[in-house]
């Protein structure tokens, strides 16, 4: 059941990222649902699962859209691992704001690494323009969207079959 949940999470993330948000957005600004699910799961589990989701989603996006394997994979994976390193040192208190802060931080790390890779690949970076036109508004969008995503994932984690074994105490936190 847990693996089914994780597989569905990846599929939903990919569908929203590749097909839904390109059509439904505000002036090209859309939240990063992959970062939101990663941050939410890592905040609840304090495990590598978020990084694994980022790795799989990034790989699928690379295969589908860029052909340059690693362009999306690397930033999502590193953001997932950073989330793990931070969350494993913080005793999680049932709060929505803290996971939102995780999502915002992870999104920023992902964008910095992406910009670096884009520069290395010879793409036109124009960082100042992108920062104000896309990155900052999307940070806000991701933070707000995280409120919804985290509420949904928290709710799902109440089921024993969703969260990993040995984390039965997680219900007390939820």
């Amino acid at each position: 059941m847990r693996y089914l949940f994780l597989a569905l999470t990846v599929i939903i993330d990919l569908i929203f990222t590749g097909a839904v948000f390109p059509n439904i957005n505000i002036l090209g600004i859309a939240p990063d649902i992959i970062i939101c699910t990663m941050a939410s799961i890592v905040a609840l589990e304090k495990s590598f699962t978020g990084a694994a989701i980022g790795l799989i989603c990034g790989l699928a996006l690379d295969i589908m859209f860029t052909g340059a394997i690693g362009f999306f994979t690397l930033p999502y994976f590193v953001a997932g691992m950073c989330l793990y390193f931070v969350c494993s040192h913080i005793r999680y208190i049932d709060s929505v704001l803290l996971p939102c802060a995780f999502a915002v931080g992870a999104y920023l790390i992902k964008e910095i690494i992406t910009a670096l890779l884009a520069y290395l690949l010879g793409l036109n970076v124009a960082l100042g323009y992108r920062l104000f036109r896309y990155i900052l508004p999307e940070i806000l969008a991701t933070g707000v969207f995280m409120l919804l995503i985290h509420l949904i994932i928290k709710r799902l984690y109440r089921s024993n079959s969703i969260h990993p074994k040995g984390m039965e105490d997680i219900k007390k936190l939820l």
Binding site: L14, I15, T17, G18, A19, V20, F21, P22, N23, I24, L27, G28, F48, L55, A60, L61, I63, M64, F65, T66, G67, A68, I69, G70, F71, F72, T73, L74, F77, V78, M81, Y84, F85, T114, L117, A118, L121, L123, N124, V125, A126, Y129, R130, R133, Y134
Partner: protein, 283 residues
């Protein structure tokens, strides 16, 4: 010593190194591997359905926000509008599709000697670094790399990767794209490149390498020149909106607004005729 015992950190470093190596290797490749093609073939039918559905939803909201001020209408009318809205969305969808297909048909009748494949857009690259989209036609439909992609408005882009049943198309507004263009009236040649801004809503092209005495003015039409050997000559690209000196002051450059609406791409045509035949047909 403790550093080497930190397993998560070691895993991170190893995976990052592997991904960097793979990125360097795959960044220059143009051919889609078997695995890429297989993954794409699995995802593309799902994407096709969802892209169409969400596009319809996006269109509904656009129409709703652009509509009249409902607050001024009385309650009875509101109820009636709500009842009719569902029917109207269907009607608008059919009407919009009819208009788009008619445009494509016009392109078809004006270039009857061309072979082409009509395809639907089924996905767009996420983020703001690429202006690449996916179409539901690939090797099986005769699509090859570098084939020009057009719609009823004009040039859209070129095929950059082909899978079994889907292809990746780089839009002309992508910052990595380059199109050899010519101003229809003044006959000045230049290279059209996408701007750093990859947002489809305000997507523009910069036509560089123009002489200082170039006789360009806003409103001039830009077409493909056929010089680079990728795009055939004579396909409409867009309209000059601004002419200004380049940053070094040695040449002129023009800002060109493409005619294709990259925000609402739904159906496109891939020209499959060889380039020589296309030039003859467009003459």
């Amino acid at each position: 010593m403790q550093f080497w015992r930190n397993r998560p950190l070691m895993i991170t470093i190893i995976v990052v190194i592997i991904l960097l190596v793979v990125l360097i290797i795959t960044a220059g490749e143009n051919n889609m591997s078997g695995t890429e093609s297989l993954v794409g073939s699995i995802f593309s039918p799902v994407q096709r359905a969802l892209y169409s559905a969400t596009d319809a939803i996006g269109g509904f909201f656009e129409r709703m926000f652009a509509g009249t001020d409902l607050q001024t209408e009385n309650l009875d009318l509101k109820a009636k509008v709500a009842e009719l809205e569902g029917q109207l969305v269907d009607y608008d969808e059919i009407k919009a599709e009819n208009e788009r297909l008619s445009k494509l048909l016009n392109f078809d009748t004006s270039t009857q000697k061309l072979d082409y494949v009509t395809a639907r857009v089924i996905g767009k690259a996420p983020g703001h670094w690429f202006n690449i989209f996916i179409i539901d036609a690939g090797l099986s439909q005769g699509i090859k790399v570098d084939m020009p992609v057009v719609n009823g408005d004009g040039l859209v882009g070129r095929v950059v990767d082909v899978g079994a049943n889907y292809s990746r198309v780089m839009a002309i507004v992508d910052s990595s794209s380059g199109v050899s263009g010519i101003v229809e009236r003044a006959r000045d040649n230049g290279i059209l490149t996408g701007t750093a801004d990859t947002d489809a809503e305000d997507a523009q092209l910069v036509m560089g390498n123009l002489p200082l005495d170039a006789d360009l003015m806003p409103g001039d039409t830009v077409i493909t020149s056929g010089l680079a050997g990728v795009f055939p000559k004579g396909i409409a690209v867009g309209e000059v909106t601004e002419v200004r000196p380049s940053t070094d002051g040695m040449r002129n450059e023009a800002i060109v607004t493409p005619w294709a609406d990259f925000e609402h791409l739904e159906e496109v045509m891939v020209i499959t005729s060889p380039l020589v035949n296309i030039d003859e047909a467009l003459k």
